[in-house]
Symmetry: none
Subunit: 243 residues, 2 copies
Amino acid sequence: MEEDKDIKTILIVDDEEPIRNILIHNLGKEGYNVIEASDGLSAVDIALEKKPDLILLDIMLPKLDGLSVCKRIKNSMNVPILMLTAKDGEIDKILGLELGADDYITKPFSVRELVARVKANLRKVEVNINAMESEKVEEKKDTKIVVGDLELDSEKFEVKVRGEIIDLTLREFEVLKFLATQPGQVVTRETLLEKVWGYEYYGDIRTVDVTVRRIREKIEKDTSTPQILVTKRGVGYYIDDSK
Amino acid sequence: MEEDKDIKTILIVDDEEPIRNILIHNLGKEGYNVIEASDGLSAVDIALEKKPDLILLDIMLPKLDGLSVCKRIKNSMNVPILMLTAKDGEIDKILGLELGADDYITKPFSVRELVARVKANLRKVEVNINAMESEKVEEKKDTKIVVGDLELDSEKFEVKVRGEIIDLTLREFEVLKFLATQPGQVVTRETLLEKVWGYEYYGDIRTVDVTVRRIREKIEKDTSTPQILVTKRGVGYYIDDSK
DNA sequence: TTTTTTTGTAATAGAATTGTAATATTATAT
DNA sequence: ATATAATATTACAATTCTATTACAAAAAAA
């Protein structure tokens, strides 16, 4: 299970604004970056330009119908496309055609169902990517990080310091992991807020200090003289790998 | 025509008409002759009568489930069968039981992927005409799993904790098994829903919590301090194998 | 069918985590 | 040495996530 550090982008193509807004809201809530198009032509343009990780595509569209959009996009990129169809009668006619669509969902759909399908299809892609890569390169999993006395396991969300298992909270783990992936590199609080807390986080920058404190309480022998997670005054924090 | 001999016939068995239509069109485009069935009983009839070169078989079917259909057909003819599954538990059945299925593909699948698999399986038949046994899916009958105090027997659907036999319901067993096959690995609720309940399931995510609770009541000494099935807050659940 | 068991849903209680703010401490420059 | 700016520390509040319970619905068994 790869960490969702890379935010997935989803393109919604539907001419009805209320529908788009519902989807934007709900998928946004799930942590996806959502972009939209209201007609077929711009859908193709946006898809090719922004290269979304998944496309939600309504069949009935102005300017260029969903079928053609699907075909065109599939022609030049391999992105999963989830078709939205209105009624059963329509499905047959539509899905019988030469789409290469990956999945479909009929209106009216429950938001829950749609979100679940989106996730399933995204996961599918990841599985395929991993499968392809594992054929080429042996062992691609960066699930374990070792720096000095510190060991992180991203699958188990487990941290060991000098062999001893330490229980960190999720936030603490993520901060430590971010720092540990680039040992020695000083990271600013701003960067941490952006990368760990997320782009649209408006909180106090001192939150980072407190989280660092909490990590230190768990991993340092003496919090007043940190040996692992060290402060670079005026800049930020880093993992000391000099020993 | 001479080339008619080479045109392969594929039987699609799925109760959802849209899915059938997608497959019909896409396989038709590839030059296959496609026939269809929407339930298990007629699938067997049609298969025996039309003698297709390959069968695409959904597991969830009305009247007669896909597994039984597979067994019956394999009993009287040697045609490659590609099973369509929606959840991991079904894969186990395919692999575990002596069905003779040749391959499987999990939903959601991309049409491209499916077409590729169909071709591969047809090719395999041709190669195998000179008598070699196909390199099937590896029969990894991991029927027994032991993690710490926990023992699972997938054949008997039996669970032992510290030697004592525990009676779990099917759903409970499947959840526990999924977790136990990857001890230490934290699994999200969403993954569990998809892998155990199936990707076509769109229920409340909290269902997982309740199921976990029920499992804990049966396998943990003290449900308030779980030693086996443990929560990783903010992520999901895992089987503790650290002891 | 009816009954029993299993499974899912929803509401609420309970905990743990996280964020904020106020204060103390430390480092640095002058 | 002192002023200043940056960081550490602490306590508490707010929030988020999980556990628990009861009940309804669905499935399986009788």
